[in-house]
């Protein structure tokens, strides 16, 4: 028997629960049960319910691991019933990290939608950790309404950081909303980066991914520089159970981030 059982989740307590939007919550764990790099994901176990894959939203350098999660299915519903101090399990890290070394010296163009900001926040924090190594960091983020924006309390601080450029939009505004209105592509009309040589990273709901990617391709980003988070059904995370296979890739091992170059010939990559 191997000393490490790849199916065993490491038990860890929930330290803090921060509601972000009506259906999105950040769960801060008491410590970092596993080391990971930005872009890698973990399987989060809700005892006796099961597990599901999530990419951490905290920096790989943070002492505590965080996940920002939307309530959508059986596992997340059970997770939202848990309270601070209760136990969950973590297995991982799985998949490949963002190739940060390739991003160095370049402008990094990050595009997010809805809860898709969660893994992008981990990437953003990892970039901030070594911010001088990158030319500039752009974030373009869209949410359904102002209420649905995640990290509302953090964004104003991020906007003030030198070398960071953040634009937000909402599909539908309200009285308090002063910013742009429209789906995320409305803030992709002007892309102030060297598109031929810059990496761009996209994560969000399927439709948003589809249209944002289309726009980025049109704008001139190279296929191999467009990094896309793939949402697939996953069970083992080890590249064995076969659930997440798409074309010749196991999203859990070869992903969870694949490039447009990798997936463009796959039928309906964003379903």
């Amino acid at each position: 028997m191997e000393p490490i059982n790849p199916y065993y989740p490491i038990p860890v307590k929930i330290k803090k629960i921060i509601p972000e939007t009506p259906n999105i919550t950040t769960f801060i764990l008491d410590g970092r049960p596993i080391d990971f790099e930005a872009g890698q994901f973990a399987e989060l176990t809700i005892p006796s319910i099961g597990e599901a894959p999530f990419t951490p939203s905290s920096s790989p350098h943070d002492e505590d691991m965080e996940f920002t999660i939307m309530k959508v299915g059986r596992v997340t519903e059970a997770l939202f019933d848990l309270k601070e101090g209760e136990l969950v399990g973590v297995r991982g890290p799985f998949g490949k990290p963002y190739p940060l070394d390739d991003f160095k010296g370049k402008e990094v163009f990050i595009v997010g939608g809805g809860v898709g900001f969660a893994p992008l926040r981990s990437l953003f924090l990892a970039l901030l950790h070594d911010i001088k190594a990158y030319k500039k960091i752009y974030i373009r983020y869209g949410a359904r309404t102002p209420k649905d924006i995640v990290y509302k309390h953090l964004i104003p601080g991020w906007k003030k950081i030198d070398g960071v450029d953040i634009l937000l939009t909402v599909d539908v505004g309200d009285d308090s909303w002063q910013g742009r209105v429209g789906v995320v592509t409305v803030i992709l009309d002007k892309i102030p980066v060297d598109v031929k040589n810059s990496p761009t990273v996209v994560c969000g709901p399927p439709l948003m991914m589809k249209f944002a990617t289309q726009r980025l391709v049109e704008a001139g980003f190279r296929g191999e520089n467009i990094y896309l988070s793939m949402e697939k059904n996953m069970s083992c995370g080890l590249g064995k159970c076969n659930h997440c296979r798409v074309g010749k890739f196991y999203v859990c091992k070869d992903g969870p981030v694949l490039t447009w170059h990798d997936v463009k010939d796959i039928e309906e990559p964003f379903l």
């Binding site: 199916y7 597990e51 959508v72 399990g89 083992c236 064995k240 159970c241 798409v246």
Partner: protein, 334 residues
Amino acid sequence: MKSYLLSQNKLLDFVKELSRDGSLYYPEHEDGKTHLVKFDEKSPFTPNFQKIRTAENIKHFFFPSRDTVARFPKDEVKQVPKSYLFGVKNCDLRGIDVYDRVFMGWEPVDPFYRERRDKIFVISADCPEPEDSCFCNILGLNPYGDGISDLNFTEVSNGLLFEAFTKRGEELIKAYKHFFSEAKGEDEKERSALREKAVKKLSSINAKSLKKDLPARVEAADKKKMRDARDECVECHACLHGCPTCYCFLLGDYKKGKDVERVRLWDACYYAAYARVGGGANPRSRLDERFWNRFQCKFNFFHKYENIYACSGCGRCLLGCSAKIDIREILWNL
């Protein structure tokens, strides 16, 4: 390769001795079907090594349909007992070959599979009488063990003629050398003749071979044709659960007293919810998409990485199919 002869009158004693070291399973033929049964000194020993592979595949032994793989919050290690599979056929060895690659060749190594592989000794037997449902030949397999297993034997007039493929196979022969005598030229000649006959029979059952560019054809398959082929499918999944090379699984968590038990369960890509994600999107919501995906997996994806098809030609899928869909027809027509 050196051959060792075990005369028929020593077979029972040999099996008896092996079974004292670990449970031994051998094929028995009953009511038109062959099953692997556990050897029991108190029951009559009536093996049948002539008939084709057993009705059930042998993946249960290495990859049980329901297997506890972790306990939470405190994990517990369980031991797998030693056992012997005596007289399994080469099509089922293809299954082991596929699993060896998935569970041990691809990182990380699955400790549960590896432990079973270490603890289970595999002794294969020639398959001298292929039947109409057999098509191992078009997958490039022989109707006899030629690797993968620890030992293989051929039933010849003078007894069972053994060959060893692994070090532990050699060691087993050495450890039980009092049962074996040196094989004679005539035994080996008879083995060659029996094998030739079986190969010929397979060629007459499946005259057409698979097209060389099958993976590309599967990838470019006409969905309409695929739909026609699966029209009768009632989604019983017999083809997948009976398949010795299918390795899909799902992890399920169950309460066990105060603790939680994580169980690895066989899954099948024909289930409608197989690829559905938390948010509800499903890339293969239609049956024809799932039907096509099965062929993609076995004849394109796996081939790309391992240069073999994840199919053994055992024929369990076509015999088990409620709609009598013959996988060969689909492959030949692509």
